[in-house]
C-alpha cells in the first residue's frame, strides 16, 4: 500500500520535478544563511522517500495501539466485571482469584519483559511482529483497564443496583442496562488517558525490532548520520497523532455527558 503510494508520488514527480526543485531551494537558502538545517530536514524526510518510513511507522504504531486497545477493553471489562460481581455476590471466588492474580502479575512486571517473553518464547514461531506487539500491549493494557473500570463500577451508587433488582430485573439485566453504562461513563477520562498512554508506550516494540514510529528515527540516523531531525520529526508526528486522538475522545466523552445536570455543556 505504502510502496504503491511511493511509486505513485515518484511517477508524478518524474513529470513535475518538485523534489529537485525543493532540493535546489533548500540548498540555496542554506548556503545564503550559512545553515545546514534545511538540508538536514530534507535528508531526513524527502531524500530516498524517507517520508514513507514515517508513514509506515505511524500505520504500525496505530495498528498495534488500536488492536491492543480493543483487546485491553474487552478483557479488562470482563476482568473487572468478575471482580465486581464477586465483591457484590461472593459467588465467583475462583474466577475472581484468577482475575486478581492476572492483574497483579501484569501490573507488577515491566512491559518490556512481557514483550520479550511473548516475542521470543511464546510466539517465537510467528513472524507477524505487529500482531505479537498488539497482543502484548492488549494483555498489558487489560490489567490497567480492569482497574479503571473496576473503579468505575465502584463509583456507581449501590442504590442503582438495588433499584434495578427491586423492580425484578435480574443481575445481568441490571448490569447491562444500568450499571455498565454508568460505570463506563465514569471511567471514560482515565480510560482515554490509558489509550493515549498506549499509543506512546507501544514505542517499546522497537526493542524487539518491530518497525513502529519510535524505531524509524534510528533507521534514518544510521543512513544520514544526523541525529536531531528524525527524532524531532517523529516526536511531532506522535504529538499530532495524540492530539487527533484527544479530539476524537473528547467528542465521545461529550456524547456520554448528556445525562449530566447541565447536559454536558461547558
Amino acid at each position: 500500500m505504502i510502496k504503491l503510494l511511493v511509486s505513485l508520488v515518484n511517477l508524478i514527480d518524474s513529470y513535475l520535478g518538485i523534489k529537485a526543485l525543493i532540493l535546489n531551494v533548500v540548498t540555496e537558502i542554506d548556503s545564503f544563511f550559512g545553515w545546514r538545517v534545511l538540508k538536514s530536514i530534507y535528508r531526513a524526510t524527502i531524500e530516498q522517500d524517507r517520508w514513507s518510513l514515517y508513514l509506515q511507522g505511524i500505520v504500525n504504531t496505530l495498528l498495534i495501539a488500536v488492536v491492543a486497545a480493543f483487546i485491553g477493553v474487552f478483557v479488562g471489562v470482563l476482568l473487572s466485571m468478575i471482580v465486581f460481581l464477586n465483591k457484590k455476590t461472593g459467588k465467583l471466588k475462583p474466577l475472581a482469584w484468577i482475575a486478581n492474580t492476572y492483574i497483579t502479575i501484569i501490573r507488577g512486571t515491566p512491559v518490556v519483559l512481557q514483550l520479550m517473553i511473548l516475542y521470543f518464547v511464546v510466539f517465537a514461531s510467528w513472524d507477524n511482529g505487529i500482531l505479537i506487539g498488539a497482543i502484548t500491549f492488549g494483555i498489558n493494557s487489560s490489567a490497567y483497564v480492569a482497574e479503571i473500570i473496576r473503579a468505575g463500577f465502584e463509583s456507581v451508587d449501590d442504590g442503582q443496583r438495588e433499584a434495578g433488582r427491586s423492580l425484578g430485573l435480574n443481575t445481568w439485566q441490571t448490569m447491562f442496562h444500568i450499571i455498565i453504562p454508568q460505570a463506563l461513563k465514569n471511567s471514560l477520562p482515565p480510560l482515554f488517558n490509558e489509550f493515549i498512554t498506549l499509543v506512546k508506550e507501544t514505542a517499546i516494540v522497537g526493542y524487539v525490532g518491530i518497525m513502529d514510529l519510535g524505531k524509524i528515527p534510528g533507521l534514518i540516523q544510521s543512513r544520514t548520520f544526523e541525529y536531531l531531525p528524525p527524532l524531532i520529526i517523529a516526536a511531532i508526528l506522535y504529538l499530532v497523532v495524540v492530539m487527533i486522538l484527544t479530539l476524537i475522545l473528547r467528542v465521545i466523552e461529550k456524547k456520554f455527558a448528556k445525562s449530566d445536570r447541565n447536559g454536558g455543556k461547558k
Binding site: Q160, S166, G168, I178, S259
Partner: protein, 293 residues
C-alpha cells in the same frame, strides 16, 4: 378505604425472620402477617432494624433465618427465583435511586419493557397463529361469514409494538403526577420531590401487589415532603397494600391501618395508629413517642 379481610390468606407472611450483620443481630425472630389492602407503618428509633426489616421483605438483604411467604412461596428460600416475586413488590428508596443514565420516561418504562417483552411477543405470536388456524378451518368448512370476520380481525390487528405500549403507560403515570413535560429530561435536573414521585410511579409501572417504602421523605427538603406524602396517600386510597418505614408520625397516623413499633430487632408493640400513638403500653414506645412527638 377498602375493607381489610383478615379471614383471607395474608398477602405477605413473615415467620421468625432473623438477620445478622457479622456479630450484630439486627432482627431477632420477627413474625407478622400483612393482609391485602393494609397499610402497615413501621416506626422506631434508628438502629432498631426497621429498614433492614423492610429490605428483607423483598430479599434485598438475604434473611439469615425464618420465612417470608409471598404468593404462597417462601421467598427467603435462596432456591426461589426472587426476580419473579420482586416484580410484584414495588420498592421506593430514601435516596430515590432513579437510574441516572436514563431519561425520566425510560426510568419508568425500562423494567416493564425488559421483563415482559419476550412474554408479550410470544402471546402476540400465539394469537396470530390461532387466528390463522381458525381462518383455515373456517375456509375448509365453507363458513364465509366467520372467515370474513377473522380476516377482518387479522387486518385490524396492530403491529406488535410493546415498547409503544410501555411508553404510553409511562406517560399516563407521568401525567398523573403532573410531570409529563419532564419525560425527556434526565433525573439529575429534577428536584428531590419530583425524583421521589417519579420513583413511586416507576414502582407502580410494574403493577405490584405490595409497595415497600423505605423512609420515602427522609432525604427531602421540608417543603417537598407534602407532595410526596400526598402521592403515597393517593396510592394508598386506591387500595394498594403498603409497608412504610417513616419518621412522619402525622402521616403514619393518617394513612396507616396498623403501626408496628420496632425496638432492638423485635416488634415491641403493634396496633392501630390510635392505640399506639394515644395509648402506648410498652415503656420503650412511650419513651420513643415522647421524644419524637
Amino acid at each position: 378505604m377498602a375493607e381489610i379481610n383478615k379471614n383471607e390468606q395474608p398477602i405477605l407472611s413473615v415467620r421468625g425472620l432473623k438477620k445478622v450483620f457479622g456479630s450484630n443481630v439486627v432482627l431477632k425472630d420477627i413474625s407478622t402477617d400483612i393482609y391485602k389492602g393494609e397499610k402497615v407503618v413501621v416506626v422506631g428509633a434508628s438502629g432498631s432494624g426497621k429498614s433492614t426489616f423492610l429490605r428483607c421483605l423483598n430479599c434485598l438483604e438475604d434473611p439469615d433465618g425464618g420465612q417470608i411467604i409471598f404468593d404462597e412461596v417462601d421467598i427467603a428460600d435462596r432456591k426461589v427465583n426472587i426476580n419473579v416475586h420482586r416484580q410484584n413488590m414495588g420498592m421506593v428508596f430514601q435516596q430515590f435511586n432513579l437510574f441516572n443514565n436514563k431519561t425520566v420516561l425510560k426510568n419508568i418504562m425500562l423494567a416493564p419493557y425488559i421483563i415482559y417483552k419476550k412474554r408479550k411477543k410470544k402471546a402476540y405470536k400465539a394469537e396470530v397463529k390461532a387466528d390463522e388456524k381458525a381462518l383455515k378451518e373456517a375456509i375448509l368448512a365453507g363458513d364465509r361469514e366467520k372467515a370474513s370476520q377473522i380476516t377482518e380481525r387479522i387486518e385490524k390487528r396492530p403491529k406488535f409494538n410493546y415498547k409503544a405500549e410501555c411508553r404510553q403507560r409511562a406517560l399516563e403515570l407521568l401525567r398523573r403526577i403532573g410531570l409529563e413535560d419532564k419525560a425527556k429530561v434526565y433525573p439529575s435536573t429534577l428536584s428531590g420531590g419530583q425524583k421521589q414521585r417519579v420513583a413511586i410511579v416507576r414502582a407502580l409501572a410494574m403493577n405490584p401487589k405490595v409497595m415497600l417504602f423505605d423512609e420515602p421523605t427522609s432525604a427531602l427538603d421540608p417543603e417537598m415532603v407534602g407532595e410526596v406524602l400526598n402521592l403515597i396517600k393517593e396510592v394508598a386510597d386506591e387500595g394498594m397494600t403498603m409497608v412504610i418505614v417513616t419518621h412522619e408520625m402525622g402521616f403514619a397516623r393518617e394513612v396507616g391501618t396498623r403501626v408496628i413499633f420496632m425496638d432492638e430487632g423485635v416488634i415491641a408493640e403493634e396496633g392501630t395508629p390510635a392505640e399506639i400513638f394515644d395509648n402506648p403500653q410498652n415503656p420503650r414506645t412511650k419513651q420513643f413517642l415522647n421524644a419524637v412527638l
